[in-house]
């Protein structure tokens, strides 16, 4: 296959700034939205995701003014998540220039939303974000309202059943946030992602746990995900996107490079 595995930088947005927490808590300010978007775009990231992490817990919609500014600034695709709970919310976000919308908590409350969005905008615009954690009985189950630890709720639905359901409803892509791995940079949850891959026929994006280039190599090789998303490891400067791309290329993984790179002899 010639389609590149995607490297996606995730920018958690809170009150108009990019923040990053550990295990979804204790958020630190990482910078301005358009500045970081432009920086990652210039570094060669393939896609950006903006999570308005306060929108769902506070019961408000995502603010579209900054989406319009990002759309003017960058020439790579980007997705917006957070507080999108209706076709009209999604329309506002897409018309402001986002390429995709990602729904998470609102889809757990009203799964029909996924189908409504797919019919209106096409399934390629509809991403379902899944926050997942392994329970004591060994099953992965979904969580809602994860932007606010005090509001987060565990649901009875298993992650695998939910991923199957949202595809039937019209999801064009699934982002699997493994909450147990998030923010601690010990690697993606390859076991969980491999299990989800078995039931996921649309693009699957790994999220949570990236700490170094080897983690990306592992998740592409072992879980066969289409993209890998990271935040803190990029924001902190611990791993530059361009260096990561070259290491992936050297490992034989198909990626988009800015400049032609000599083929590596196996």
């Amino acid at each position: 296959m010639t389609l590149a595995r995607r490297i996606i930088a995730c920018l958690d947005v809170r009150d108009g700034r990019v923040v990053k927490g550990t295990r979804f808590r204790d958020h630190q300010d990482m910078g301005g939205i358009t500045e970081l978007a432009a920086r990652y775009s210039a570094e060669g990231v393939d896609e950006l995701v903006f999570y308005d992490i306060t929108a769902s817990p506070q019961g408000r919609r995502v603010d579209v003014a900054w989406i319009d500014r990002v759309a003017r600034e960058i020439d790579i695709p980007f997705c917006v998540a957070g507080g999108i709970s209706s076709v009209e919310d999604a329309r506002a976000v897409l018309q402001a220039g986002a390429d995709k919308v990602s729904v998470n908590t609102p889809a757990t409350r009203r799964p029909e939303l996924v189908g409504e969005l797919a019919r209106e905008f096409g399934r390629q615009c509809v991403v379902v974000g899944v926050d997942s954690l392994r329970d004591e009985d060994g099953q992965w189950r979904i969580r809602q309202l994860t932007g606010d630890p005090d509001a987060t709720r565990a649901l009875d639905t298993t992650t695998l059943a939910w991923v199957e359901r949202v595809q039937e409803l019209g999801a064009g892509e699934v982002v699997l946030n493994a909450m147990g791995s998030d923010g601690v940079r010990q690697g993606y949850d390859v076991e969980q992602l491999s299990a989800v891959r078995q039931v996921c026929g649309v693009p699957l994006i790994a999220s949570g746990g990236a700490g170094n280039a080897q983690h990306f190599i592992d998740v592409f090789r072992e879980a066969d995900v289409d993209g890998a998303l990271a935040a803190g490891v990029f924001h902190s400067g611990a791993l530059a996107v361009s260096d990561l791309k070259h290491q992936l290329h050297a490992a034989g993984i198909e990626v988009r490079l800015d400049d032609p790179v000599p083929a590596v002899v196996p």
């Binding site: 020439d75 390629q124 693009p203």
Partner: protein, 203 residues
């Protein structure tokens, strides 16, 4: 040279803003319009589009733009769904009659082991035939695709991409061009294609 006047056809698709911003970044004189006079008077016409073929054609019919687009004689570029609508028919939405400006039909990308549909992400371009529109987009250049339906290779195919089959990535017949990928979201490859469309192709 004077900047060409670009009519960006307001087809109601949600990527119109992104295409306009891409043209703004290039310094183009682009106007979003559904007026027949504006479209027919422009130096270049771009038909953007995202979503399903049925809804896309319905919007063009409701806006009275089907005949207008058939009358366009200046360079016309369809982008993504806009390219698919230039063809005769699409298999999407149970079969949709399209504009019929290019010969061929749009089909569903078949599922294949290890290949996901929608075809979403950065894929490589392979050149079938050189053209001013694709100048600088050498073999192996990556562009950003998002689609579940695709145009097979036809006599009008300039460049192809591979994903569970070989598909038209860029097409041309006379003054009508199409790009299946999103130039507005394809970084330097996309801005090169749009620049070529503005400055290199001649009416």
């Amino acid at each position: 040279m004077t900047r060409p006047k670009v009519a960006l056809v307001d087809s109601g698709g949600t990527n119109i803003g992104s295409v306009r911003y891409a043209l703004d970044r290039l310094g183009a004189d682009a106007r979003l319009t559904s007026s027949a006079d504006d479209i027919l008077a422009a130096d270049r016409v771009i038909l953007p589009g995202v979503g399903a073929a049925g809804a896309g054609m319905r919007r063009l019919r409701e806006a009275g733009l089907v005949e207008v687009l058939r009358q366009v004689e200046q360079p016309l570029l369809g982008v993504c769904l806009g390219m698919q609508l230039l063809f005769e028919r699409s298999a999407e939405d149970g079969g949709t009659e399209c504009l019929g400006l290019l010969a061929g039909e749009v089909v569903a990308i078949p599922p294949a082991p290890g290949l996901r549909v929608p075809h979403m992400g950065w894929n490589t371009l392979t050149t079938v035939r050189d053209d001013p529109l694709t100048a600088g987009l050498t073999a192996g250049t990556r562009a950003y695709f998002v689609h579940s339906y695709a145009v097979p290779v036809t006599a009008d195919t300039l460049q192809t991409t591979e994903h569970s089959g070989t598909w038209s990535a860029v097409v041309r017949n006379g003054q009508r061009w199409g790009a299946q990928f999103h130039p507005e979201r394809s970084a330097s490859a996309g801005s090169r294609l749009l620049t070529n469309f503005l400055l290199e192709v001649s009416p």
